[in-house]
Symmetry: none
């Protein structure tokens, strides 16, 4: 399921020790830089922090999106993995809400990611597919469960919701829970018109 950093689909190919060191340094550096300056931070900033030549970065991550995907892979996996866990622990609606907040948390710390996704720059072309592939099934399951439980309508499109929250979830000043309120509102929208009425016992 996992392989060399730049060839997400091929057969695993063990990296030489020095290469592995470089890749690790780059991922760590990029993670920091992305957090501080956004995903479109200058390449140099990353290589400098990783103490690595520019060519090394391009060797392992020929496309900018390759680096982004690699940096976020762990986080994406982690976030996606939370879906089933929540589904097992909470009742469907609660699980859904919690996961959306979790997902928003993931997005919010990725400054510039949303912009990059819509920039039209071909260097980012592969990213939407990457995210869709990893997140859509998870959300689809959560929506299904909630719908089957009668808690929400059954016509919600998971990709629609992911895009919406992906755009909504902007980094905020401390103490501002705008994103959370908006998620709550969206979920209420899903509940509205579901089989069971909202209020009355």
């Amino acid at each position: 399921m996992d392989d060399g950093p730049s060839s997400p689909g091929r057969h695993r190919q063990p990296l030489r020790a020095d290469a592995q060191r470089s890749v690790d340094a780059l991922l760590a550096a990029a993670a920091q830089v992305f957090a501080e300056s956004g995903v479109d931070a200058p390449v140099r900033q990353i290589t400098a922090r990783a103490d690595v030549g520019a060519g090394t970065l391009y060797r392992h991550f020929p496309q900018r999106s390759d680096l982004i995907a690699a940096v976020f892979r762990r986080e994406v996996d982690a976030c996606a993995a939370v879906g089933p866990t929540l589904a097992a622990q909470y009742e469907p609606l609660e699980a859904l809400t919690r996961w959306l907040e979790r997902f928003a948390g993931f997005v919010a710390t990725k400054r510039g990611l949303s912009a990059a996704l819509h920039s039209g720059d071909p260097a980012y072309d592969s990213l939407p597919g990457y995210f869709q592939q990893h997140f859509e099934p998870v959300l689809a399951d959560l929506l299904d469960s909630a719908a089957r439980a009668g808690a929400i309508r059954s016509d919600a499109d998971p990709w629609d919701l992911l895009r919406a929250i992906g755009n909504l979830a902007v980094p905020l000043e401390d103490g501002d829970d705008h994103t959370q309120r908006m998620i709550s509102l969206l979920v209420d929208g899903l509940r509205y018109g579901a089989g069971s009425a909202p209020r009355q016992a």
Copy 2:
């Protein structure tokens, strides 16, 4: 001292004829350029189209946001003005929905505006205030009416909603009404838990 285009609050000081001509040309040019290439299009593109020197632009619009605000002023005013009109023509909930879609339409055609607002670049610092000042009261009224009519809850924060839709409203491919669906969902969220139950008679 004057309120040349960049100082909206001061005492009016009529521009010299040539200055006025420059400002007009810049506004027209910027409007076109923003529409074609987004609000972060290169400055030269604008000055070239306006047939004006770069210095002239900086004289009248020292900050990028000054130009953006000036360019959008008419559209902002127009969009804001639609609020009362809709309120007079439709029942509260319908008016609210329609205006939010109108507002989304405004935002969607401003490529890069949302990104600019969150870029952290001080050149855009004054924009959020500008939009808040013009749009918030309008939406507040619409929400109030709808709430008083019992169509939606009464605790909705207009600025929250404006920000949400401002982020949500991304330019889409033809035929994709993602934004409209999401607005509808948000409004349903507002309706959920309002005095009257959604479905049953």
Copy 3:
């Protein structure tokens, strides 16, 4: 006939004093650099020597070939102008030979020019036309006169000869008159088979 450096065909537009200074500095610097390092020397080398920003160079000479043409314009003009002069002073064959040597002298000091002409790089696309336009008519006249005098054949193609000598005329070590010998040989080739026999009185 002559205008702004980058717009060889338009109406003359007097340059501002500072612009003229920059252009002059650039031309002087480029001339030196081309002589030392060839026409594909790094841009930076030229701007540094001219004490001018990189943008200034690109403003006046958007294409590399624009700079080359401008740098060589004087020399091209001078070389082309020598044709009629020689034609007036010497008998046709002598004039022809002398001009070809003069032309070879022009080419020989332009290191890399010939290579640039054949590099396929679009940045040099306009150069062949530039040279053809300036040199071909001059050589055509010289060939015509010599042919009419019966000194050479009448089927020589001027552009063919220009290309040949353009390639032939490579910078040589001091004291090596390879180029001159080859020109002489080519001219002998032209004489061969002309109306009058070579040797016998």
Copy 4:
């Protein structure tokens, strides 16, 4: 007669089998790459095609010119060998002309070779000697025969001619026989002033 590819003068030392395989692969790959992209094609292109590490190339061919010479050795030998053959089949002048065209054909397919020879880059220093050593005697013989037959003058310098045609023979667009015409012209130059007059019986 032959030794390690890079040390033409030392005592023969048979290569290990794997080393020989590498060298062969490199020569084959380089031949293809030179034909497609010229002799100054990126090194990586060659090593990639040879499926060999970069270090391996540098081990066997420390200088770029070593590789070029090795790659062209067969072709050079073949071209040189044609001289005597032609001399045996045709009368001297015809043989001379045909061989010059053959030589031009060799040069013309080596994109960038002529430029490399004059680049001043020390990596190419040894090439002129290599070519001189192989081609000069062949041409000297052809010139001698033609001169002794009275078809051309006797003062032609073979190295001069080789250089001239080496420069002249530039890759051309299809259907353009510029090079052939120029060779013909040069040969006519050689004929001019020879013992026998060109035309009159």
